[in-house]
């Protein structure tokens, strides 16, 4: 069965990540899923409002939802790969039902479990993840057709009530950056960055 995904441009995940970060100027929180997703986020330049997941595959969207519920006046972005979101599709129904206006989920879809050996995911053949999100009840769900369209979708997500869901077909270039494997370091930096914990002198 043909999917709208078949006709989309394949873009650079690293480039799109940097373009997204370039649009953030109001201390928006970014929760980045396991693997290349958070490696590329770090590669775009560390921000105090970034949270890097070292484990718990599939939980970027739920964590982002929790941050969004805790800080309703801050825009929150959850970044996931296609394999990760497939592990927890049910969370799209929760996001749709709770409908936090400050939450955006971005899916980097390269159709691969890239970091484990490039096994193909269902999105590489039959599953249209934007149609899934829309079917779960997130009406603001869209494929980015090219880089400029991606940037305009991110701007819309920043400037209009959500939840928003953006997916982009991306390449499988291996990210080069690696966050230090120190969970508590990233927790503390993130909490200070979004004002939920005071800076310790």
């Amino acid at each position: 069965m043909a999917s709208p995904r078949d006709d989309l441009a394949i873009m650079s995940r690293k480039d799109l990540t940097a373009r997204m970060v370039g649009k953030l100027n109001r201390e928006e929180a970014v929760v980045a899923g396991i693997g290349n997703t958070n490696f590329d986020l770090l590669d775009a330049g560390h921000r105090p409002q970034n949270f890097y997941m070292l484990g718990s595959m599939g939980l970027a969207a739920p964590i982002a939802l929790g941050v969004a519920l805790a800080q309703p006046n801050r825009k929150v972005f959850g970044l996931e790969g296609d394999g990760s979101i497939l592990m927890n599709l049910g969370t799209l129904t929760t996001i749709a039902a709770q409908a936090p206006g400050n939450l955006t989920i971005i899916i980097w879809d390269n159709g691969l479990y890239q970091i484990t050996g490039k096994q193909e995911t269902a999105t590489s053949s039959v599953t249209d993840i934007v149609a899934v999100a829309a079917g779960c009840g997130i009406p603001n769900s869209a494929w980015a057709t090219d880089e400029n369209h991606f940037e305009s979708l991110v701007e819309t997500a920043i400037n209009t009530p959500g939840p928003h869901f953006i997916a982009a077909r991306v390449d499988d270039a291996s990210a080069t950056a690696r966050p230090e494997r120190n969970p508590v370091l990233w927790k503390d930096r993130f909490m200070v960055g979004i004002g939920s914990k005071p800076v310790q002198s």
Binding site: S56, I63, L65, L69, N88, S196, K197
Partner: protein, 169 residues
């Protein structure tokens, strides 16, 4: 006060204003009480590990929450505890309705009920089991205080002796 009202009061005393639950029959009075409390936001998650993820995000954002689930669903939450809550030192407070013990009628509930405490012990997650109405407030208050002050997950089991369990009807 009955057990569920005592737990709701402990949650209020500990500034918990977000309840994320995966439904469980024996916890129904607690779920209903949370949903009826105008100062509590309460909603269901589709799966227990998702509920832990939402609670983790809330904790990162500075909001205290509680996760409610059935003991069978605990099995769905283990990786979220092991690779997120414990290593990131996040105060995930869980209240678990116990099945598989004391009058259980369904054999599929039993194995996870035997595995759950050894698994929590192996991860270093403290847990207490509430069996009597006169102990609920004191134990719950202290467990919640410990969870949020030590920034580590904690579990309260709600035993069938307290709730009457689930009947096979």
């Amino acid at each position: 006060m009955n057990w569920s009202d005592q737990l709701l009061e402990s949650l209020r005393n500990n500034d918990v204003d977000l309840t994320i639950y995966v439904p469980d029959e024996v916890l129904t009075p607690l779920i209903r009480g949370a949903e009826d409390d105008p100062n509590m936001e309460a909603f269901p998650a589709s799966r227990e590990e998702e509920a832990v993820g939402i609670a983790a995000g809330a904790a990162l954002g500075g909001r205290r929450s509680v996760v409610l689930m059935q003991s069978s669903g605990y099995g769905n939450s283990v990786n979220a505890l092991a690779s997120l809550a414990v290593p990131y030192q996040l105060p995930i407070l869980m209240i678990i309705g116990e099945r598989g013990v004391l009058g259980e009628f369904n054999p599929v509930q039993v194995p996870i009920s035997r595995a759950i405490r050894p698994s929590l012990d192996a991860m270093g997650i403290p847990h207490r089991t509430l069996e009597r109405e006169d102990e609920v407030a004191a134990v719950a208050d202290r467990m919640m205080l410990q969870c949020f002050r030590t920034q580590l997950p904690a579990v309260l089991f709600i035993n069938a002796l307290l709730t009457g369990g689930k009947n096979d009807r």
